[in-house]
């Protein structure tokens, strides 16, 4: 086999690794806590729809909530227990807002049910059924993006996938959950890759792993030897942040530069995180839904850094307590890595499918951000940008509130929020914060614009409706007046038609007169009755309310 030629993407940088704190010990199984809090939205797309009731007993692997729509994912129970509440709880989100969650009280019996039929011989199962299984098992991108995997597997019509990439780059500092997973469960990862190749009908599978993980590379190679699958290639890539970003990884491995505004699937590539591949393997071959994930608990703020196999819904506080607790000088708890993650307002948030890392930092590693100084136009951010954007220009536009320019001319939405620009800025300008702000602000404005367009439409419709009603009424009145006039002409002037009288043309005058008189009497009686009732009703109401 010839040596693969690797390519270097523009920009990038080398943050301090901090991998050795947590990658030396094997993955430990976290004990079942007294309470599980399972957010209904742990994925990109629509919030899952609850399928259980409060007080219901559920078994391990039972479905708690079903996918609501195409881009959505179901949720399953990590253990047996009773649903104690379905309510809003704190969730891991930068806003610190609450979101609907299912709260579960485990009963310690851990009774399981077989969620799906195991398909050990997945090669004989049709790709369609396999994709359905991936969807039903709640598999989402476990690298942190949590996009429903089944949607990715459906691909784009007309563009077949030729290469599957298994992303084991794990380029963020501190995080080692994929590293340990590849070392300990390399076989699952590769078999998951085989399922992906089968589903997509792809020819090659490249496994990209940064060369700071030699043990993981060795483990994958050993597993591949045992598997004997020539379609796979384990490729060690140079350690350079952010090599784990999808387009950057594709460029490193193949030299294919996928232009802006294009999806990688349009060029025949499909990337999945190694942990996602392992989850797909478990869903298909063992028939297990996603109910646990490996989480790196690390940083100078915890007593014993390491990797844990955690039931989804376990509170971060419970996990940290099990791992020996915090260091006394802990200052900050971050969800995700130091580059792409966000600080949590509380540790009472559950581990979700997105939780690849919980990073607790001691005061010395979490200094107060220095006040930003003016931009000196040094260009360091542009040099470091892996997407070849002009961060200083984007900053300028975002600051000035010129979002249209930031979006159209600066390609703001190409920004992968890797955080290099902020990290290298000598003026300590939080550039990536501006970009995150600008992106969400643009979405917000789009939503508002949509809403105001709807309001305008409804307002205009209402006005035309009122106008139409008015015209119809006028037309009707005009018609009646015309009839009346015609009648007056035809009748003898002495008959004395009352002013309010309505005539029906063609009927005899005497009958009409009588009918009108009767109708008027009836209306009067009804009106009086209603009046009496109305007078009685308020006094009754007062009586009951007093």
């Amino acid at each position: 086999m010839t040596e693969r030629i690797l390519h270097r993407f523009p920009g990038g940088f080398h943050p301090e690794q901090h991998k050795s704190e947590s990658n030396a010990t094997p993955i430990r199984m976290a004990g079942m806590p007294a309470q599980l809090v399972i957010p209904l939205k742990q994925h990109i797309g629509a919030t899952a729809e609850v399928m259980v009731k409060v007080g219901e007993r559920v078994l391990r692997n039972q479905r708690l909530a079903k996918a609501d729509g195409y881009v959505s994912a179901p949720l399953h129970t990590p253990t047996s227990g009773v649903v104690t509440a379905i309510e809003e709880r704190a969730v891991p989100h930068p806003s610190g807002l609450y979101a609907p969650c299912i709260v579960l009280s485990p009963d310690g019996l851990d009774e399981a049910m077989q969620a799906f039929e195991p398909w050990a011989d997945f090669g004989s199962v049709s790709p369609l059924l396999l994709r359905e299984r991936v969807r039903d098992a709640g598999v989402v991108g476990l690298g942190g993006a949590v996009f429903p995997s089944a949607v990715k597997l459906a691909g784009t019509p007309g563009t077949p996938i030729h290469t599957v990439l298994l992303n084991g780059a794990e380029c963020e500092p501190y995080i080692t959950c994929d590293d340990r997973l590849m070392r300990e469960r390399a076989d699952e990862v590769l078999r998951g890759g085989q399922i992906l190749l089968h589903v997509l009908g792809a020819q090659t599978c490249l496994v990209g792993v940064e060369d700071n993980k030699p043990e993981a590379i060795a483990a994958l190679r050993a597993a591949l030897m045992a598997l004997g699958d020539a379609r796979f290639e384990i490729v060690p890539i140079p350690t350079l942040y952010p090599s784990g970003a999808e387009k950057q990884l594709i460029y490193i491995l193949t030299g294919e530069k996928i232009s802006r505004e294009r999806r990688v699937t349009e060029r025949g590539f499909l990337g999945h995180n190694v942990a996602t591949a392992a989850a797909i393997y478990r869903a298909v071959v063992l028939g297990e839904p996603v109910t646990r994930r490996v989480v790196t608990l690390t940083g100078s703020g915890v007593q014993a850094p390491g990797n844990w196999d955690v039931p989804l819904g376990m509170l971060a506080s419970d996990l940290i307590a099990q791992a020996g607790g915090y260091q006394p000088d802990v200052a900050r708890l971050v969800f995700g890595g130091p580059m792409g993650g966000f600080a949590l307002a509380t540790d009472e948030v559950p581990v979700t499918k997105a939780a690849n890392c919980l990073l607790a930092l001691a005061a010395k590693d979490a200094p107060v951000e220095p006040l930003p100084m003016p931009c000196i136009r040094c260009g360091k951010c542009a040099e470091g940008c892996p997407v070849e954007l002009q961060p200083q220009q984007m900053l300028w536009d975002a600051r000035a509130g010129d979002f249209e320019r930031a979006e159209k001319q600066d390609s703001l939405f190409e920004c992968i929020e890797c955080g290099i620009c902020s990290a290298v800025c000598p003026s300590h300008i939080p550039l990536v914060q501006y970009f995150r702000y600008a992106k969400t602000e643009i979405w917000q404005r789009e939503r508002e614009h949509e809403k105001s367009s709807l309001a305008r439409e409804r307002f205009e419709f209402r006005n035309t409706r009122i106008e139409r009603d008015k015209q119809e009424r006028e037309a009707m009145l005009a018609q009646k007046r015309a009839q009346l006039a015609a009648q007056k002409v035809s009748e003898s002037p002495a008959s004395g038609v009352s002013a309010g009288g309505v005539s029906v043309s063609g009927a005899a005058p005497d009958d009409k007169q009588r009918a009108i008189a009767e109708a008027m009497a009836r209306a009067k009686a009804r009106k009086e009755a209603a009046q009496a009732e109305k007078q009685a009703a308020p006094s009754q109401d007062e009586g009951t309310s007093a």
Partner: protein, 191 residues
């Protein structure tokens, strides 16, 4: 001398005819400026600007009869956008037309509602459902928060509730806002 006069008169005549024809042939229906202004207004249709709806206000601005700072629901952002569009200086919101309030939606206390339909008639965007003597309710997604339904209610059962942002609608605060948050001691900042 005479030929020069002749040439220029002829030229003026031809160009004048051309312009006159173009004016007729490429005539733009409606008022494009009013459309542009209308697109920037929040479409609450609340009438706080003293015009009966956003469109009439937009037309008044286009005619130069109304000022750009009369829209409280749009607030500073709308004034700024209008100033950019019209090439004039932005100014603070006119106090006589109201103050900028957080976004809210109407909510009907259904236990108290007597089903009088007055609020339905007041709603400019048909966002209230109900029938005579039957309970009424607000379609939250379509309510613009104009408050026009509050005053007509004979039993005062309509309340304006602030719109709580769901996670999907949350946006990152700008770093400048974040500095303020840091100074007031609230947590939730990122690394």
């Amino acid at each position: 001398m005479l030929s020069a006069l002749l040439v220029f008169t002829l030229l003026a005549l031809v160009l004048g005819l051309l312009l006159g024809y173009a004016g007729q042939a490429f005539k733009v229906e409606g008022d494009p400026l009013a459309d542009k202004i209308d697109a920037l207004l929040p479409q609450t249709q609340c009438g706080q600007c003293s015009y009966p709806g956003c469109r009439p206000y937009a037309e008044a601005i286009a005619r130069g009869e109304a000022d750009i700072n009369q829209c409280p629901p749009g607030g500073e952002a709308t004034i700024k956008a209008l100033a950019d569009l019209l090439g004039v200086e932005a100014k603070p919101l006119s106090a006589e037309h109201g103050v900028e309030k957080p976004k809210s939606v109407a909510w009907i206390d259904e236990q108290v509602c007597i089903g009088c339909t007055l609020c339905i008639q007041a709603c400019p965007v048909d966002a209230i459902l109900g029938a005579p003597k039957l309970m009424h309710t607000v379609i939250v997604d379509e309510c613009t928060g104009c408050e026009l339904c509050v005053a007509p209610c004979p039993v005062d059962c309509i309340y304006m509730l602030p719109l709580v942002p769901a996670l999907e609608q949350w946006r990152w605060p700008s770093p400048e806002e974040r500095l303020e948050i840091a100074e007031t001691g609230r947590v939730g900042e990122t690394l």
